[in-house]
Amino acid sequence: MIRTQNLKKHFGSVLAVQDVSFSAADGTVTGLLGPNGAGKTTSLRMIYGLVKPDSGKIEVDGHDAVANPLAAQACLGVLPDQSGLYPRLTPREHIRYFANLQGITGDELERRMQTWLDLLDLKAMADRRVGGFSHGERTKVAMARALIHNPQNVVLDEPTNGLDVVSTRTVREVIRRLKGENRCVLFSSHVMQEVSALCDRIVVIARGRVVAEGTAEELLATTGKTSLEDAFVTLVGPQGEAA
């Protein structure tokens, strides 16, 4: 369960996030939809404790993420917008590193490692250095490493950005599986189709504010449009660079 309330953040003179409040429930896939530069990544970074909000509240499974970021981080699995892998390490070593940092070791780690390598189809390349991996392969390694500790809440920042069809499909399957396990999945995207295909609830962000929130049907009803794309364009306004 992730809840944010009146988040605000500026960088220098730029107000990146003005007022963001939403909640993402367990067993639900919540999509953060907005044009580039709307404040999606900054909002997510505040949730996973790397950016301190100027004001506002964040709660992750009841932990105050602003006052106690480590407690919030312990309930989170995060795939940031850059996979950020170590070219000289193998997928297995990446997963083991983050698992150890989470306090998972020994047989438990090996068991989970096998599960994720299978699930993400990484087995054949598990002991090759990631230096030469494709973008899709890298994303999958980053995903396995972020989810090895079975977090209750999963945050994915544009996970399918730039992926080919097969990799996109794998990522979608993982998201559905997480939902099936009653986890809270929050993911951001600027791609309409992605959000409508996966999300139970959609939070639309534009210019640092939440402009609408609800199911796809609710968004259509509020805007009075027949296609989600039209609804999106209406919601983010003419300045938004809709995808």
Partner: protein, 391 residues
Amino acid sequence: MNLSRMIVVARKELTDGLRDKRAIYTILFSTLFGPLFVAFMFNQLAGNERAAQEIKVPVVGKTNGPILVNWLEQQPGVEVVDGPAHPEAAVRDRSVDFVLVIEKEFAEKFRDSRPAPVQVVSDSTRQLTGAKVKRLQTLLRRFSGEIGGLRLMARGVSPMIASALKVEDIEVASAAQRAATIFNFIPLFVIAAAFSTGMQIATDATAGERERLSLEPLLINPVPRWQLVGGKWLAAAIAALVGMAATLAITAYVLSRLSLEDLGVRFHLGLPECLFLFAALSPMALVAPALQVYLACFAKTFKEAQSYMAYLLLGAMMPGLLATFYPIADKAWMRPLPLLGQYVLATEFLGGKTPSALALIAAAVVALLVVALFLWLATRLFYSEKIIFGR
């Protein structure tokens, strides 16, 4: 205090770092360069000593002064050979080190008890032959003095009258002493090893992490940031300690293969000496990576960080380099300072005095405080949004 996360980070950084070819080359180069340089210097010194004792004197115009030639041949370690046809050209093109020319009127003037002309052709810009030329000139002065004395005695005058001064040469820079200045290179290279062997890991784990954009995912793990910084430092410090120990061990081995006794060197770099030097200098293997981790955080790329590291290494070597020209004055204010304190301790030990355990401990404690300070500063940087995301 649970340090397990710090060890997890250190293990990863060491695995990652040792797969980096650049790191391996740097470690090899920096641990081998010092010992080989010291060995080279000793060899040069030994070579010069031997060369000055045994000289080959090319003489032009042997028949003009057989008395001088005979006298020279009787001196120990002197061999007279035929000189080249064009002495000056031969010295200039370095086919010979120097030439003694006995001129035609030598015999006639010698017979008449007038100064008999000889020439010593040499090139003063060639430093390596200086000792040989000096030896020849000393021999010639002695010959001149002996003959002059004999002539005065033949005339019933005491040769003492002709000597207004009694000059005694006391050479301070004896071979043994010059050998001691070479010993001062050892702490220099050991400290340089502390700065250069951990350097790649320290930069790759910080600036490299920023460059690869892997800092963000790392910081999302619920681990206190001081443990992340501490782990990165620990990995670099382990590499620096190993580099330092290797440099000392290789130096000791190389020196054991050289016969330093011939140079009048009594100091022996054995296991107890190595252990003492390691104890005195190892705090630098903790300080250097702490400084490097902190500084490299400011760099956006590995390359940028390396340019900072080069200046740091140069700065660290500066006191040692200066010390080989001017001996480090053991001022009280130097002892508690990191780096200078370590140099002073090592130089003192190599000079034959063993510093007290208290002095060692005091220097180590100060060094640890410096480590703590820089790790604290680096941890603060790990909280900066500019450092985490700034590109």
